[in-house]
Symmetry: C2
Subunit: 207 residues, 2 copies
Amino acid sequence: MAKDSFVPEVVILRLPLYIRALTQMSTEGQTVISSKSLGDRLQITPAQIRKDLSYFGRFGKQGRGYKIESLVAELTNILGLNRQWNSCIVGVGRLGKAIINYPGFVPEGFKIIYAFDNDQSKVGQTVNEIKILPMNEIKAIVKDNNIKIAILAVPATIAQNVISDLVETNIKAILNYAPIAPKVPNGLIVRNIDPVLSLQSMTYYLD
Amino acid sequence: MAKDSFVPEVVILRLPLYIRALTQMSTEGQTVISSKSLGDRLQITPAQIRKDLSYFGRFGKQGRGYKIESLVAELTNILGLNRQWNSCIVGVGRLGKAIINYPGFVPEGFKIIYAFDNDQSKVGQTVNEIKILPMNEIKAIVKDNNIKIAILAVPATIAQNVISDLVETNIKAILNYAPIAPKVPNGLIVRNIDPVLSLQSMTYYLD
């Protein structure tokens, strides 16, 4: 299955949800699933699911549904998830420490292997077996270790400056926990983890 | 400005981003903004921004851009953010405690006022001045205090069961930190805070 030259980003954003739901259904004992059942689970229309998957070729047979195991394997392959992705974290305050200790990353193939902070009093300390390094070493370390993912857990006031520094490294993807709308150049992907934005997108429906 | 009877959810999801970016631009000293500048900041096309705003009436004048202050005020009003929203949290483990202590909610009008846990050893303890209550009190408390928002910070294994309990309360919106694809009935909104899904939606572009 070849990667299509252009798949809309909204489609790529849904694929991890499909994997998550399909994996759960598999643990519940299901082996085959219709686009309707998957859609019901995710509050997405069956037509949308079929269209999303059609970007990547033919899955399943008309009227027979999808084999969960092989669909998960295909989606995992499409997203490049059949390997380990090493990352670094920038900012080791309360939030950064919680992220380093979060047990959900490693089982999914994401491993934080370096931590950076510009606070000299933190440099040299260890959090969950990861030694905190000074920010001025990030460029060399990211390059030498071919790290493409950075997790940003610095205060909002300095987040944009740190992103500007990361642009000059090999980092291509940033998971941003700082509550800002960062300016990023083309070629750098950012996903924001921002519970306030999520809350603000629900209140519209509550009034 | 009347709320349109049907605004696509993707539009509602972008409005908080607009508020965030506009507020930042305002603190940077700007007073007027074009849809192009706002779009550049958010990696959204100007046409998309104009279309999103058109659901709610006319903003600004052709060719003159938007007045940031009044646009922020309008968007804040549309999303129902010109008031305080009280919420409760379910699950007061390491993650729940970090969420209760997160300083970003209150300045944005979101306040956690009750915490629930089914672990009897935690009940009665206090985290950031919030007393932990037993789960069997949630239904009455949520109703008596007209709480519509719940933050879910329980382990993945029990998250679906807790959501089923919440459905029977007045809760209408759930901010879910558990790494599951929850089944929810119509009328209940869920936003998932899930860093693994965000990471998985970036690796596609890195291979």
